[in-house]
Symmetry: C2
Subunit: 233 residues, 2 copies
């Protein structure tokens, strides 16, 4: 199968493009879920939070479809070298996207809890975290699809700002809780939401690392891990 006929090869190229397209659709859906979940929090919009809960099903459907698509590509086309890397990375990226969809649901669930109480404070850092995480996700997918290493590296660089904001959210809410225990429940919901957003960034980072691996063969995972905090995932 290493020496495929032109027709088979063109078919394979089409299949690979189709795989990338489906992953882009899934990433778009996951990003929209994250956006809507945080919007429902900011706007105190119950109905929107409920829509996010319902919106997970199409993403899960895509997860199964893409997994099967990758499997069929491996079984029937037996891709080699870079093409094989693209498909195997597709399997992993598909899992990352599915998790991101789950986190959007977790955020919507925490939002429904949060809305049962008066607001703690105007929300500034959490919407910023959401914006950063969504941008990372979008760029990571584009880096994979276009095999754009510079863009993938940019995604990796942005992960620190997300961790920093998460720590800031935590410290601020902790001080609120300590000075006024009546805001404890709401503060806990916001702390959990900030952690879900941080983990969405971690999954975007995974995707960017896969993109770098495909292009360079260079494995940037677990790089300089000594002395650094492990990514929470």
């Amino acid at each position: 199968m290493t020496d495929t006929a032109p027709r088979a090869s063109r078919h394979f190229e089409e299949e690979l493009e189709h795989l990338k397209e489906r992953l882009l659709v899934m990433a778009g859906g996951a990003e929209e879920q994250v956006r809507a979940a945080v919007q429902s929090l900011v706007d105190r919009d119950y109905a929107l939070a409920e829509r996010v809960l319902a919106g997970d099903a199409p993403i899960n459907q895509l997860h199964l479809e893409i997994d099967e698509r990758c499997f069929q590509l491996l079984a029937l086309q037996q891709p080699m070298a870079t093409d094989l890397r693209v498909v195997v990375s597709g399997v992993k990226i598909n899992s990352d996207l599915e998790r991101i969809g789950d986190f959007a649901v977790n955020i919507a669930e925490a939002t429904l809890g949060y809305l049962e109480h008066p607001a703690v404070k105007p929300l500034i850092d959490i919407p910023r975290m959401a914006e950063i995480a969504q941008g990372m996700l979008r760029d990571a997918l584009n880096a994979y699809v276009r095999q754009d290493m510079a863009l993938a590296q940019e995604v990796l660089d942005r992960d620190d700002s997300l961790d920093h904001l998460k720590d800031q959210v935590f410290r601020e809410l902790l001080s609120f809780m300590l000075s006024d225990p009546s805001v404890t429940e709401q503060s806990l919901d916001l702390i959990l939401i900030s952690r879900h957003l941080e983990r969405i960034g971690d999954h975007a980072t995974n995707i960017a690392e896969e993109a770098i691996f495909i292009v360079s063969g260079l494995d940037v995972r677990h790089h300089g891990q000594e002395g650094n905090a492990v990514r929470e995932s």
Copy 2:
């Protein structure tokens, strides 16, 4: 490559066995990290928590090795049917195990924070959660290696008890914080630890689902998702 010579076939079988062995080694390492992290919490043992932080590097090394092993199996052996499923599942299980290792580190980090303050309460539910999660992990891996569907199904059944304990831990600690804000920080650490343990159970569930998929071709993921809470992962 569908009609492999006996020698190549035997070689492939050996490679597949070796892949499973390496995944078992990695799962054993991840389980030991989880056990040690929770032990450091229970025994208030700083040194042990620090050892867990250092103990992540060998797991990350195995993650890279196994990923490369799967890739080489796909590239050079072009496995078919069930064998292909075993290798593709190996890629996913490898990711799950690496995450479980990260959660052990997250638990050790939260433990180091927790130990800066007096204990909130005797720990009962969290060690129980750890025991359940470790058992799920062990059995999920064995189900994959032995292609044992009944064992995999048992793992899936145990996930609910973990979710239940997580909710119980949350409610109890929330009531502590509300009645005595001086225990807020310690309580937050324990809440986060219980969530890490719940997610370890989720990853064990993923592994069990892969085991079922290999044997039955039946995809039990996203089963009955309507109306159910999404697994936090």
